[in-house]
């Protein structure tokens, strides 16, 4: 009915005749034709609006989990409305969620520190949703921090970061976080080569001592945490490993990783020699790393390898001789490495080459099984023949990077320099089907469930590195631009531009919203989100108290509209104070906050949640604390005092 009205209006507007009179009942200037004229909208704009506009109270069909780049977070976005739903703090403090500002989440952030260095940020690159049988199961999402080689686990029950693990071997990562089809492993491989476990070695030892590594983090689905004890790694040559993907279906049990610096360049040192960008691109090809991780698993089970910085590592010589690791030449300095939904092909974006190369898994496997190698590299790793390993190459354009897939056998590749999204058929490599201009410099690309065994089609998002003229100017630092593309019709249509104003996104994934089942409140009351159980420090109504033990003061405080109990706390300067906060609220969306002035403390108290804040009351004075969420009509009155009595003298 509504559609019929819209269609009629559109038909009326599309003609060259003057806009028809307003429908009876519409106020002057309030009919669609007048609005289109006033705002300079054409029929395609109205269609795009109709495809994406989501009225108040209606929910989106899909959810994007986007990396927040050096914002250190994850951004959740509804599709097709492109409304930002939430930022999930991961590697950096975030005041709204009370993340990393004095409460329990400090312990999660601290897990990412190493060697006495406190790290306050992260560079989130590739979110990966947990999978069951190669399909998103909506339970967890993993992200990597390129800058500090860390992986975080976010629980989609409460959209909270639950764990950060620090890669004990490498300094930076890029090929991660990628999950195997049943989330057995979260794979994280290195980016910039360095001596393993951060020991010192001069650059003149680059070939001998600098290395990469692929870490297979074992994920415990029951506990919802990475089991660091059961995790292991494979040593890799210092080739500058890049993007990676896990095989699926026929290629399950294998992992594929790009590389861009088989030349082993490391810069000029100001000596007038060519810089790294030149040395790293000298050869025509780099190596696609093919890892048989099931074979590696066996070696680990046999106790092979050595323990480096607490992690069991299979040495390069061993994985080379056992053919756990094999190389195939690939066009130099490529980018994306994406396994097709049926698991038969691995698509590598040429970046400096105008093609995407589709490697054929069955051919690779046959060559390895027959032991047909063209030679070995400098580290003794066997190399397969390029032509004998591929399905073919597809001419795409200038700067093909990443590839995602739809449900009809098409691939969509982001083309950086051309600023286009190119649609092509990955089973029949002919001419590309279609090319669509995007604004501007598209990096990653994502499609609805587009990297699973069963993509949904319909929506593709171009994640553009530049926005330029797309939005109102906001000074020299501009947001990125997410462009939503409808691919359900015969022609791709750009439907929406979303500025991303907090970090530079890299990869993202889009999951059907009905696969997510987040909790509404924490139950039972007093649940510590970081242990998933009722905390021993939780307090029931009427049991609030202050306990002093020497110079340690424990405050068991309840939080409920519109008061804290107790609402003043007397301590002496120098006391160590632990606040055990329990929200007694049980109503959906009834959140409180708890901030102490001048003590750099702010936590979020969602209904039923437990938080623990420990600090030394080293500054004397009177410090109001208060609720930082406008919780109720008596929100302002929800406050109290921390009184720190000065020590004598």
């Amino acid at each position: 009915m509504r559609l019929a009205i819209l269609t009629t209006l559109l038909a009326a507007c599309a003609g060259s005749a003057p806009a028809p009179d307003a429908p009876t009942g519409a106020a002057p200037g309030q009919d669609l034709a007048s609005i289109m004229k006033d705002r300079g909208l054409n029929e395609a704009d109205i269609l795009a609006a109709a495809k994406t506009y989501t009225p108040s109270g209606k929910h989106d069909e899909y959810v994007i989990f986007a990396s927040g780049g050096h914002g250190g977070n994850i951004i959740t976005i509804g599709v097709p409305s492109m409304r930002i739903l939430k930022y999930i703090a991961v590697f950096g403090a975030e005041p709204w969620q009370g993340y990393g500002l004095g409460g329990e989440s400090d312990k999660i952030l601290a897990e990412g520190n190493q060697g006495g260095k406190v790290i306050n940020w992260g560079d989130v690159h590739h979110p990966n949703l947990s999978e069951t049988n190669g399909d998103y199961d909506g339970k967890f999402i993993f992200v990597n921090d390129k800058a500090n080689a860390r992986v975080a686990v976010v629980d989609l029950a409460d959209f909270n970061t639950k764990q950060i693990v620090k890669n004990p071997l490498v300094m930076s990562d890029h090929g991660g976080a990628f999950v195997t089809p049943n989330t057995e492993y979260v794979v994280e491989s290195s980016q910039y080569a360095a001596p393993l476990a951060n020991v010192y070695a001069p650059l003149s030892d680059y070939d001998a001592k600098y290395r990469g590594a692929a870490v297979f983090w074992k994920f415990d689905k029951e506990k919802g945490r990475i089991d660091q004890e059961a995790s292991w790694a494979i040593e890799l040559p210092p080739y500058g490993q890049d993007l990676a993907d896990a095989g699926k279906l026929v290629s399950d049990g294998w992992v594929f990783i790009n590389s861009w610096n088989t030349e082993r360049g490391f810069g000029s040192g100001g000596t007038g020699q060519p810089p790294l960008e030149a040395t790293a691109t000298k050869n025509d090809t780099d190596y696609l790393h093919v890892i048989n991780y099931k074979a590696a698993e066996k070696l680990i089970a046999e106790g092979k390898g050595e323990v480096i910085n607490g992690m069991r590592v299979l040495p390069l010589a061993l994985v080379a001789s056992e053919h756990v690791l094999t190389f195939i030449p690939e066009p130099k300095s490529p980018h994306g490495c994406d396994v097709t939904p049926d698991g038969t092909g691995i698509v590598v974006g040429g970046k400096l080459d105008t093609h995407t190369t589709v490697f054929e898994f069955s051919k690779i496997k046959a060559l390895i099984e027959k032991g047909e190698y063209t030679g070995v590299d400098a580290y003794g790793v066997s190399v397969l023949d390029f032509q004998g390993s591929i399905r073919g190459q597809q001419e795409i354009g200038l700067g093909p990077l990443h590839t995602v897939f739809d449900d009809k056998g098409f691939a969509y590749t982001s083309v950086f320099l051309d600023s286009t999204v190119v649609k092509w058929d990955y089973n029949h490599l002919n001419q590309p089907v279609e090319s669509l201009s995007v604004q501007y410099n598209v990096g990653h690309i994502l499609a609805a469930e587009g990297d699973t065994v069963s993509p949904d089609g319909h929506w593709v998002v171009a994640m553009n590195k530049m926005a330029q003229d797309r939005f109102l100017p906001v000074g020299p630092l501009l947001p990125q631009n997410f462009q939503l593309i409808d691919v359900s019709g015969p022609k791709m249509q750009l439907t929406y531009d979303l500025p991303i104003p907090l970090g530079e996104p890299h990869y993202s994934q889009m999951i059907k919203a009905d696969k997510l089942h987040p909790i509404e409140i924490y139950t039972p009351i007093g649940t510590n989100p970081y242990t998933d159980s009722v905390d021993p420090g939780a307090v029931a109504s009427g049991k609030e108290r202050i306990e002093r033990n020497g110079t340690h003061v424990d405050v068991y405080m309840s939080v409920i509209r519109s008061h804290f109990a107790p609402d003043y706390i007397d301590v002496n300067q120098g006391d160590t104070v632990t606040l055990h906060l329990t929200s007694l609220e049980q109503a959906y969306d009834q959140t409180h906050g708890f901030a102490i002035d001048m003590y750099n403390v702010n936590v979020s108290m969602e209904p039923g949640k437990y938080e623990e804040i420990t600090f030394v009351a080293d500054r004397a004075g009177v410090f109001p604390f208060y609720c930082t969420e406008f919780c109720s009509a008596l929100h302002l009155e929800m406050m109290g005092y921390l009184l720190v009595k000065p020590t004598k003298g």
Binding site: R561, S562, L584, A587, Q590, L634
Partner: protein, 233 residues
């Protein structure tokens, strides 16, 4: 054959009825009693009364269900809201009744059964007391507690309200809340149970009146269940 109206028959000369007539009545009386008692027992598991509060920030509304054993639903949320006007918490209400609820229903069911089966013509009607007492007593109790809660508002509350009587049946308004209050499943089950027991008591009287031992009958009667004297034929 016209149905004899037992109640109009003179006591000294009871009208005799065929066995079949008596048997049918006995089955109906026993059936109604058992079904009534069963409904009482089942009502124990269902809420008797429902209060619903709707406000802009509670689009789904808040629900309170009052049953014989207690108050369930959005209790903590309503307690939090009520504390702003100084109302006592739900856990303060009817603690004796809530603790006794199970015993009261059991007692009512047993006394109805015993009354109907064992009591003679003079005391047969006593079964009506627990049967009607249950739903009526429930309403009176709810009214009592609502009145008490509405009239014992704490003076130190953030918002000062004049003592008031909350709406027990129908719609009302408190602050931004639109409230509705209605009896629900459990209550209707107990009403149905009371009606069935009432029917049983009435019909039992007609059986009594038709009984050959009517004149001699006293406090106890076992005829209803087991024995129908030979001379009844």
């Amino acid at each position: 054959m016209s149905t004899p109206l037992a109640v109009t028959a003179p006591r000294s000369a009871p009208v005799l009825h065929p066995q079949a007539w008596l048997r049918k009545r006995r089955v109906v009386v026993l059936g109604c009693t058992l079904l009534g008692v069963l409904l009482f027992a089942a009502s124990y598991a269902f809420p008797y009364w429902e209060f619903k509060l709707v406000a802009p920030q509670y689009p789904k509304g808040l629900l309170l269900h009052i049953s014989l054993t207690g108050i369930t639903g959005d209790v903590s949320e309503i307690d939090i809201l009520n504390h702003y006007i100084g109302m006592r918490t739900m856990s303060d209400a009817a603690s004796l009744e809530k603790a006794m609820g199970g015993y009261l229903v059991t007692l009512a069911a047993l006394s109805i059964l015993v009354g109907l089966v064992a009591a003679g013509k003079r005391l047969g009607w006593l079964g009506l007391i627990p049967a009607l007492g249950l739903p009526i007593g429930f309403i009176l109790d709810v009214v009592y507690w609502m009145y008490t809660f509405g009239h014992t508002l704490h003076e130190d509350a953030p918002l000062h309200f004049e003592p008031f009587m909350p709406v027990i049946v129908g719609a009302g308004t408190i602050g931004q809340f639109h409230t509705t209050a209605y009896p629900t499943w459990g209550f209707w089950m107990s009403i149905a149970g009371a009606l069935l027991v009432s029917v049983a008591v009435m019909m039992r009287k007609s059986i009594c009146d038709a009984c050959p031992s009517h004149a001699a009958c006293g406090k106890h009667c076992t005829h209803l269940l087991v024995v129908v004297p030979k001379d009844a034929e």
